[in-house]
């Protein structure tokens, strides 16, 4: 039995009050790492967002910020290295190998696990993307450490532990989670939850290369092909500057054409609340909110959306929120900046027309003459 197991059961509140006693072999774990998500030559912007957040944590801890870049040999991978520095990393741990051409769990989790075991970071952050979640679960299990998913806030507390805050109980509450006696402390964060840091032109810094002891024959899973998304299904909600969204208040599937019309007039993306997806009025990749996409547009127009907490957490990063809702007491007016208490089905077409009138260069010329 371990020392800990002999102790009487913790009082109510679980182990929350327990003192941290980090085992000796974890005491050498230092520095903050971000696993840079590189897929098919592209770095996912969430990695830069995490570098911004990681910088803050590293500064608070007085340690270095590093990026872990895993990819095939070649220009794209070195570009990712350079960008990792440009977004604030002090150093990069690099694993380059031909078997890393496409993302596959086996070689990627081996590469990241080996890096962690060799260089021992105290904090490891990943994006909560399809790649990041696939990888994070494997790596955390292999390392037998804690992993907090979908964090909305990361901080370092007085005793230097990572305080990872995430929604709980269906999003109505937040909870702060610690990884007490294990290292690294791992967390994932969804795209757009953290602000994009300023990019700085910086020379490439210290790169530590690690060799992956694996050949293609060791890898069971083969990538037979990759089918890129068609232009039409490339939904870029998370990174759109303007988003127009509709909720159940629009009343019928047909009325979502009004949302799409306004969006196309504004060169915007469109989205919706969750029940709209559940009704089959819009596909799931259009859902905004806690279990959908997090967005950070310059302008967000919400039509017929009540503003439930699970929706709110997905849009709070917007610079300007306009709400159109018939109910003056709808919760959305508690966090929108501009509100219109009116029927969205009536207002949306008028708004589309008004934007056309206002913005069409042709009409401007006419007005000027």
């Amino acid at each position: 039995m371990t020392e800990e197991a002999k102790k009487p059961a913790a009082p109510a509140g679980g182990r929350a009050g327990m003192k941290k006693e980090l085992p000796e072999h974890f005491k050498s774990y230092r520095h903050v790492w971000v696993a840079i998500e590189l897929e098919r030559g592209q770095v996912h912007p969430v990695s830069y967002e995490l570098l911004g957040c990681g910088r803050r944590l590293a500064d608070k801890l007085g340690v270095q910020l590093a990026g872990a870049v895993i990819g095939p040999p070649g220009e794209a991978t070195w570009h990712a290295v350079a960008e990792t520095f440009a977004y604030g990393a002090d150093m990069v741990y690099l694993v380059e190998d031909p078997v890393l051409k496409d993302y596959r769990n086996q070689p990627y989790s081996k590469a990241l696990t080996e890096l962690v075991n060799t260089y021992q970071p105290e904090i490891l952050l990943l994006g909560a993307t399809t790649l990041g979640r696939d990888l994070a679960g494997s790596v955390a299990t292999t390392l037998r450490t804690g992993l907090t998913a979908d964090c909305t806030e990361l901080d370092v507390d007085d005793d230097k532990s990572l305080a990872a805050t995430r929604p709980t109980f269906g999003g109505s509450l937040l909870c702060t989670i610690y990884t007490l006696n294990y290292r690294p402390q791992m967390a994932t964060v969804r795209p757009r939850v953290m602000a994009m840091p300023e990019r700085q032109e910086r020379p490439v810094g210290r790169v530590i290369q690690h060799k992956l002891s694996m050949v293609e024959e060791d890898i069971v899973t083969k990538v037979l092909s990759f089918i890129p998304d068609g232009q039409s299904s490339k939904v870029n909600l998370a990174y759109a500057d303007i988003v127009v969204a509709g909720g159940l208040g629009l009343g019928a599937a047909e009325n979502f054409q009004l949302v799409r019309n306004l969006a196309s007039t504004l060169g915007a993306e469109y989205g919706c609340s969750r029940p709209v997806v559940q009704k089959g009025w819009m596909p799931s990749e259009r859902q905004i909110g806690q279990t959908g996409k997090t967005i950070r547009p310059k302008l967000y127009i919400a039509a017929g959306i009540s503003g439930a907490i699970q929706h709110r957490v997905g849009v709070e990063g917007a610079d300007l929120i306009v709400a159109i809702n018939t109910n003056p007491n709808a919760p959305i007016f508690d966090f929108a900046h501009i509100g219109l208490v009116t029927d969205a089905v009536r207002l949306l077409p008028a708004l589309t027309e008004a934007f056309v009138r206002r913005l069409s260069p042709h009409n401007r010329d006419k007005l000027a003459s």
């Binding site: 800990e4 913790a10 679980g14 929350a16 098919r40 496409d102 993302y103 596959r104 769990n105 993307t129 790649l131 979640r133 679960g137 494997s138 955390a140 299990t141 037998r144 804690g146 998913a149 109980f169 269906g170 509450l173 937040l174 909870c175 702060t176 989670i177 610690y178 990884t179 007490l180 006696n181 294990y182 069971v220 990538v223 092909s225 990759f226 089918i227 890129p228 504004l266 060169g267 915007a268 310059k298 302008l299 306009v322 003056p328 508690d334 966090f335 509100g339 219109l340 208490v341 009116t342 207002l347 077409p349 008028a350 708004l351 008004a354 056309v356 206002r358 913005l359 069409s360 260069p361």
Partner: protein
């Protein structure tokens, strides 16, 4: 083929309410459901069995009442339900959960035959971590296929599976060896109704119930709160923003006036929006 599907009984979170004053969860009377994401995996397992023969065993870890969810899975057509229940599992985080489930899967293998494919839900609606599937795969040293949109082919004799997996910017077509762990993407299929026979069988079925010892778990320090490296330190309500929206339009107003008024207000608040919109070529 022997296919094991891991499911979780979750509160129907749409019906959870937080007490407005005390900020505590009002769980009483909240109905439970099978985690909706698990149903896509269950359906795929049933299809695989229907196509290739064999059995589907559904596994859950939870309190005794979680057997309801297993029975429900039997009404859809699953062959067997295994409930893993023990007070030692209370407070499990994802690491401890994947430990207990993987032990149970090994035991299921010994009792009912080794699994060829293990399915788990993509994520749960209460925990949302998407880590238990990958965790089980790692524990059992299996290959994992997550975010699968379509199972393109299964060849039980060649021990091969080919799937279409959602990736960033497209779909990967992956081929790997059995046994493996699969999590299905939402919307990838639709759960069947199940036959009358299934319903009758489910009503009578005995749910296999194992505690930690039954599942062959010796090291209890890997279970529950003790086996969970993560600890919830604080639960709190999100802070409300002070400022409410400026209401600029009322129901009776003319739509065209409202629209013009909104645009004027927008550009007054954010002058940069107008040139940005014009530059983006909109409304041309």
């Amino acid at each position: 083929m022997h296919i094991v599907v891991c499911i979780k009984q979750v509160p129907d979170s749409a019906q959870i309410r937080v007490h407005p004053v005390t900020n505590t969860i009002m769980r009483q009377g909240v109905p439970t459901i099978i985690n909706p994401f698990d149903l896509f995996s269950l359906e795929e397992a049933l299809r695989m069995r229907d196509a290739h023969g064999g059995e589907v065993t559904v596994l859950t870890m939870g309190p005794p009442m979680a057997s309801d969810s297993l029975r429900k899975a039997l009404t859809f057509g699953a062959d067997r339900g295994v409930l893993l229940t023990d007070r030692f599992f209370a407070g499990s985080d994802t690491l401890a959960t994947s430990f207990a489930l993987s032990a149970a899967i090994e035991k299921i293998g010994k009792v009912y035959g080794k699994a060829d494919v293990i399915f788990a839900g993509k994520q749960t609606i209460d925990g949302d971590t998407a880590q238990v599937g990958p965790g089980i795969a790692k524990r059992l040293d299996l290959l994992q296929l997550t975010y699968v949109a379509k199972i393109a082919a299964v060849d039980p004799s060649a021990r091969e599976i080919t799937v279409e997996r959602r990736a960033e910017g497209g779909t990967q077509v992956l081929q790997t060896r059995l046994p493996c762990l699969v999590t299905m993407l939402e919307g990838s299929n639709e759960i069947r109704r199940g036959t009358l026979n299934d319903a009758l069988r489910a009503a009578r079925a005995e749910i296999v119930t194992w505690n930690a010892a039954d599942a062959g778990i010796e090291d209890l320090t890997k279970c529950g709160l003790r086996g969970s490296p993560t600890v919830v330190k604080r639960v709190f309500a999100p802070t409300a923003r002070q400022e409410r929206a400026t209401i600029i339009g009322e129901a009776g107003d003319n739509a065209r006036d409202l629209a013009d008024g909104l645009i004027a207000t927008l550009f007054a608040r954010k002058p940069a929006l107008e040139p940005a919109l014009v530059a983006s070529g909109c409304a041309a």
